[in-house]
Symmetry: D2
């Protein structure tokens, strides 16, 4: 059946129904978010994953991989600014930056805002997603591909690092899917990978990784605390922080790690590294809050960014907010004992 005649001029005044299309995404087994869909622009199956681009009423255009939100127009800047700027601003002079994953290209876009950056290498396994970013996700990828500092390789992120031994990096940014049971990226969250990453970092180098949900609940933050604990078994200093990203249905965690000098020595003495570093957690966590003032961070942003850049999310006050983890999350971090290995992975829901 289909509609027919509008018999009078009241039609315009009638309440039209809103769409009945929804994207339901599980945050945990017992808690989901439900987001109204306006349209679906793309649907395909790459060699690695199901790929959809949809538009939701709440968050605008959204990339969905294997039925999980990757990033959405309305708040992708929160995710990408959170992932990139704290690490790059913490480094005194980041020149070479490596992105593991990063298909949407929002991470590259933020990195290229830094004047100091001379080379930005991005390695994402999925050509389909990278191509879509250029054609369908212009808000994410605008200008990236034209920047001569940027190079894209569609291959395995770890294999590339292993093979290209010429380039050493100041910052490595891991922008990959969560460590879920069905996911391909588990290996890139393990102690072995982090130890290997050290060998590709310059002195003073920094690694940062997206780290899954970061709520007050142990069950929701166990992925982020395990990643933190795993990094602490390799690096001197690990800073965990969380941003509110509404389209992810939860606060979201990140971990920055640094301290390459000491770690290189630690490689010979694994157990010592693991045990002694755990005690530093409390100190490290608050260090980031008091190490620099709000004004100093704001000044660094001004100095580092290419002329005319306006960050929408990150500044000095935001920095204090995202690193000011609540008592409960800090306790979870302190109490975490698991170290992620291929043999003993910790999976997100």
């Amino acid at each position: 059946m289909t509609a027919t005649a509008v018999t009078d001029d009241t039609w315009e005044n009638l309440v039209k129904p809103t769409t009945g299309f929804w994207f339901e995404e599980e945050v945990t087994e017992d808690f989901s978010v439900k987001i109204r869909i306006e349209s679906m622009e793309h649907h395909s199956k790459s060699d690695f994953q199901d790929v959809q681009i949809i538009t939701t009423s709440e968050f605008g255009r959204t990339l969905v991989l294997d039925h999980k939100t990757q990033s959405a127009a309305r708040d992708e800047h929160i995710y990408h600014e959170s992932l990139v700027h704290p690490a790059l601003m913490m480094h005194p002079n980041p020149k070479n930056v490596y992105i593991g994953g990063g298909g949407e290209m929002g991470t590259a876009r933020e990195i290229l805002k830094h004047k100091s950056v001379e080379k930005c290498i991005m390695v994402d396994i999925d050509q389909v997603v990278c191509d879509l970013a250029l054609t369908h996700l212009k808000q994410w990828s605008e200008g990236v591909n034209e920047d001569p500092r940027f190079q894209l390789f569609c291959e395995d992120a770890k294999a590339h690092l292993e093979q290209d031994t010429d380039t050493m990096y100041d910052v490595i940014i891991m922008d990959i899917a969560d460590p879920i049971e069905a996911g391909p990226g588990i290996a890139l969250y393990t102690r072995d990978f982090y130890k290997f990453a050290v060998s590709r970092l310059n002195v003073g180098g920094i690694i940062v990784t997206q780290s899954g949900p970061g709520s007050h609940f142990n069950v929701q933050s166990e992925c982020c605390t395990t990643i933190s604990r795993t990094l602490r078994s390799v690096f001197d200093h690990v800073y965990t922080y969380c941003s509110d990203i509404p389209s992810f249905g939860s606060n979201w965690a990140f971990n920055i790690a640094t301290g390459v000098e000491r770690i290189t020595a630690d490689m010979a003495s694994e157990d010592v590294a693991i045990n002694t570093l755990a005690e530093d957690v409390g100190k490290d966590l608050t260090y980031s809050l008091t190490g620099r003032t709000i004004a100093e961070i704001d000044q660094t942003i001004d100095e580092r960014c290419v002329d005319g850049t306006i960050l929408k999310f990150y500044d000095g006050v935001t920095h204090l907010g995202v690193f000011g983890l609540t008592k409960e999350i800090r306790t979870s971090l302190k109490n975490e004992t698991r170290i992620m290995t291929l043999e003993n992975p910790v999976f997100m829901h």
Copy 2:
């Protein structure tokens, strides 16, 4: 974030998540169906309604107008065969058939299966839907537009009948949206419209209309009982029947009405018609069950259809099934007193 390396050959064996996209359609305020979406092929706003073509895992390609399922690949034949064949088989020799609405073209497709039909006029207000049927809904529209007996007009279904006074019809088929509060089609469910329709029917002519949900529950079937009651205030014989159409989330009702000779006289004496006919309900309802045997219906199908036609849903036994309304629905029909007018419409949810 995006996925990266597949580090081993276990990937193929992993359980892949199914899509998190859903179409939720309210059947009543307190009861909805939830259908998994695979993809959305089309999304637009015509002058009359929101138009979507989606593909669901359960029902295949589906036309959605104003966020209500119109028909789905998997069971549209049930809807269209139910709407068309009982009425056409009941008529001794249907030559001229009129479709009010019918945008998907499935109704036309079924009508054109009848050898006796010489002219099939379809009038749907929405050009956008009709065009989409030809390009995106080939299962529905295949062959229709090429049939010389078929003529399509995109305009008001009632206005067309009023203006084109040359053609008289043997069967009028109303394939329009449900009478919802926000809908444009209310006028086409009223006693006035049915009285007018009589003037466009040949002697022995028949009108059939889709009539909304037809469940055992009064609240769900009040649309269908009101349409039946409204038709009974105009026609001698009204037959209500129901088909199970899974994609509609409920059994679905139809009403066939006939008895033009007497009605024409009744026009002068409205009240008599209304009151006396109500008593005939019980008789009429069972009449259809015994009037013809299963074998007679099966034989009529064979004789009437163009060579090679295979109906998937309708035959003699099906006929008895769909007209064999349960005791409760027959009671609701008997007890219904409301007659639909523009001043006193009865709306579906």
Copy 3:
């Protein structure tokens, strides 16, 4: 936070939100129904299953076992009348009736409406459900327990039949959970069980079983067609029929089987039985439609029921409706080849 002062008299005129509580029940993996919950009266875990009694806005009080609707106040009479009356009315003089399962007691209630019944034995494994039926489901159980013809045993339905060899039955009614992969009742849907049941039936005895969803779709009706096929490998005559039970989210199927004399002989020659009976499907299916007239069925109901009984759903016209299966379901039944055994079960979703 909690609400505070009503500061003026507009409160009554404000739109109050409806509840946000829902029961989502999967009909298939890709199709669910969503029913608004008003309240939850009971929640426990018996030795066999999760047990809930809830009240929904659409269907009233509802028994939910292992998170599947068992029966709801608003339409339980459709289920229970459909399960009981066609079989009992088909038998010339049913005295001893056996119920396998039947915890809500609606099946017993319908059986006890028959004057001819002298003994009604019900055997349900779950004491918790039976007790709840008496205290919380009075609409279902009213009067049952006080009827001297009724006896309840809480134990294994098959074991009871095996041990109590004194009683032979005229009708056996299987009112048990669907054959789902996680369910305990698989054994009671197998050819072995049906062969055994024959040995507990009097000459001319009848068995009827609820048979899961009965839609036009193969995937939805594969449980019912397999049960039909399995019964056809044992009994001479198998009649499949479907009722629309809105709270189940789908039409619902039942199978009646009879023909004990011949079957007993067949026991020695299994393959013959299986192969020859398959040819009878078409005849059997339509037989039920023409075997008795509407008037004859209505008269039988009058004669058989205890004085004052009013059936709400079932009568002669309803009978023709529910047995008038559509062409597609009849084709599925004809084409079904699977016979359910413990080694080769067919599971519902």
Copy 4:
């Protein structure tokens, strides 16, 4: 139908389905959260609202009023600690504290942890909720009613303040439902109410109010920015802060206001107050971050709380985190121009 025999010992190994009961709560029209329900303990309709107590798998026992989560066992401490402690710790010596609303009694519980408090007056309109808190929400109300410093009145929160002119308060805590269109509490979010509240505050007094969702999105935070702007039209200093409360489906905002001396003078000159104060926003917002060090806040908590008290959420680092609003929220606060009055209310969804 009900389940029957477990025919073998595999039952324990079978996967049992999880419940199909859900609480869906709209955060916005296009974004909902879906929380699995284990049981419903209570359901009633008070004079003011629908009242439910449910238990969800994710958040435990939960009070739901008019179908919106009020607070849940798993994270109610975040809400109540956030509402109470920043304001009380900011005051040099809080003795008399007033709670408008607060039915669950979690707010009173937190207040009574302060040694300095001599009198805690709570006024909630809904006796039903208060009674339920004592019987069904012991985690919230434990010890409150037995504390001689606590007094409960079930009446209009504003009327009580107007009538009881003997008591002046050091801190007023507004713990009432969001200003939704259908809600009774609109009047308690208006400029008029805040001006009146000043007259009930001692010199140096502080008012704090829960302020609805506080996300990065204007549409989600418009309630909180309007409340902030309204308070700024009355008070010298207004501090907005946000906590992540998972069961609310969003970050949650609060506003603290102080500066009674100046305001009292402003009463004569409304427009001046409104216009000049707007300029202070930036300063005020960051003031709270630098005014006291982490160590000072931790020390104040130790000194103020009764012996043995352990706060689970709030401490010095948490303080910096919740007041460290992101650049976007601070911009929304700065740009907000609306002042809430009964004539021009701003409603939450």
